[in-house]
Amino acid sequence: MRPMPALLMALCALMLASLTVGAAHVDLRDIFSDPQAMLVLLESRVPRTVAVALTGAALSVAGVLIQALVRNRFVGPDTAGTAEGAALGLLAITILLPSSPLWLRMIAASLSAMATTWLFLTVIRRLPVREVMLIPIAGLVLSGVLGSVVTFIGWQTDLMQYVGVWLMSGEFSGVIAGRYELLWVAAVAAGLAWFAADRFAILGLGDQVATGLGLSTASVMRLGLAVVSVVTAMVVTTVGMIPFVGLVVPNLVARIMGDNLRASLPVVALSGAVLVMACDLIGRLVIYPYEVPAGMILGIFGALLFLWLLHRRPAHG
């Protein structure tokens, strides 16, 4: 079976389901005769559905990029200090300029995410290459430290409720029209990466091969860093960090399709969208009409998938 058509069909089915599920009843057959249903659909259901799909797709692509940058499969944007960096930037701008407009917050989150991801890349450059597991551990440690800093400042400044939204929940119930459009920025950034897919694939072959092929590794690293940071910052700003997607989806797709990114990035994006869409739907259905955050469902599924991956390929980096 070819992956693209199957994934597209799955995504369409899930998106249709997502449009109909919720506390208010919406029947897609009579939205044109029922203005109330139309309102719910346009103001809440469609934005939410689109937000979920964009988030899953963009985070998965960001995962592929960060894995190519560090040449290690056990890293994702949620374990490279990126999400915590974005939260730190948001916290800083909230404290310094409480009434700052959205675009400024978005820039602050992106720049700060770039800074902390760059810190991660610098730290791991010095680690011995053979110790494959040191890189994810370094990422976890850095994320942990940055997360504690954010939490500490959050407590001190009485902003814990925001910090909780950015770093812990990862859910879509608050998404309404006008409050999710930043995710399009994430999607565009991830889409840009596709144009440089070959460069990222070559970068993944190692400095030696990349240089031999005449690739300027530093500029590809900068591009990757920028895309990963912008994607993560937009997600953190809008819905809060969603765990595991950026780690698990690239691994699953690489297992099946390999690392020819020009061919696999679209599949990665679609798979990410399908996975997060499914988790969001499950979260909305398990204790209906209440909701479990999609991030929590993903935490469970993602951890299981990840354990399975570790089990399948123990020795490879």
């Binding site: 993944g204 240089t211 031999g212 092929l213 005449g214 300027s216 297992r255 690392d259």
Partner: protein, 252 residues
């Protein structure tokens, strides 16, 4: 020609290469020989701009290695490093296809595809073209890396121990193919080789290195002698002759 002048190199305070001046002649097969740790790979990496130049000067076909843009150099020379283990999961055909990247930067034409197919075929990889790199044998992976360098189709080809993991027949096929590139297409090849008899049988020019210095260089016949080799490897080595070429015997 590759011209190397007054090349010095330090790693972590230790002097690895001492004031090396030498050249790789154009249109010839140059073999770099010498004991482990002599500095052969370091020299080749510097020529291939895989490490930054600290002291001295290197030009490849007139291009100053430290100043020429790296993408331009990639169309002049292809280099295969000694460490070829990579973590990426690519099909052999995809890996070899990346050898054409310096020429098309992402938009392969019919010519590029033909060259990839040719390189795969030349190294008997066509039946394995769809296999993943981490699912073939060591020698097959090594051949795929060599095929990538071939597909790059440059005037200069630099190979660090390409015979690693190759069986006798593939090793000979590789040397014959290199010879053919040189003799019929006027290409130039530099390679590091430990198995001296491959140098004896196929090389035009030999550079012998020890402790970061050049001990001897010149025609294969002049360098591959009992005196030079015994001194180079600190062991008595006998050299006979076979079909008009030196034959080095390690069970003297």
């Amino acid at each position: 020609m590759i011209q190397i002048s007054n090349l010095g190199h330090k790693i972590g305070g230790a002097q690895i290469l001492h004031d090396i001046t030498t050249s790789f002649p154009k249109g010839k097969l140059t073999a770099l020989i010498g004991p482990n740790g002599a500095g052969k790979s370091t020299l080749l990496r510097l020529v291939g701009r895989l490490d930054p130049l600290q002291q001295g000067e290197i030009t490849v076909a007139g291009h100053d290695v430290s100043r020429t843009p790296t993408e331009e150099l990639a169309r002049v020379m292809a280099i295969l490093g000694q460490q070829t283990a990579i973590a990426s999961r690519l099909r052999l055909s995809e890996l070899v296809a990346f050898g054409r990247w310096p020429h098309h930067q992402g938009r392969p034409g019919a010519d590029d595809r033909a060259k990839v197919a040719q390189a795969l075929d030349a190294f008997a990889l066509t039946p394995l073209a769809n296999r993943f790199l981490d699912e073939v044998s060591g020698g097959q992976a090594q051949r795929a890396h060599i095929a990538m360098a071939f597909a790059q189709d440059t005037d200069w080809l630099l190979l660090d121990e390409p015979l690693n993991n190759l069986d006798m027949s593939h090793a000979r096929a590789l040397m014959a193919r290199l010879r053919d590139l040189i003799d019929t297409q006027g290409r130039s090849v530099g390679l590091v080789v430990h198995e001296i008899n491959y140098a004896a049988a196929w090389a035009d020019h030999v550079i012998a290195m020890k402790d970061g210095r050049i001990m001897a260089e010149g025609f294969a016949d002049d360098v591959l002698t009992e005196a030079v080799l015994s001194d180079l490897y600190d062991a008595p080595i006998a050299v006979g002759r076979h079909q008009g070429r030196p034959l080095v015997l390690h069970h003297a």
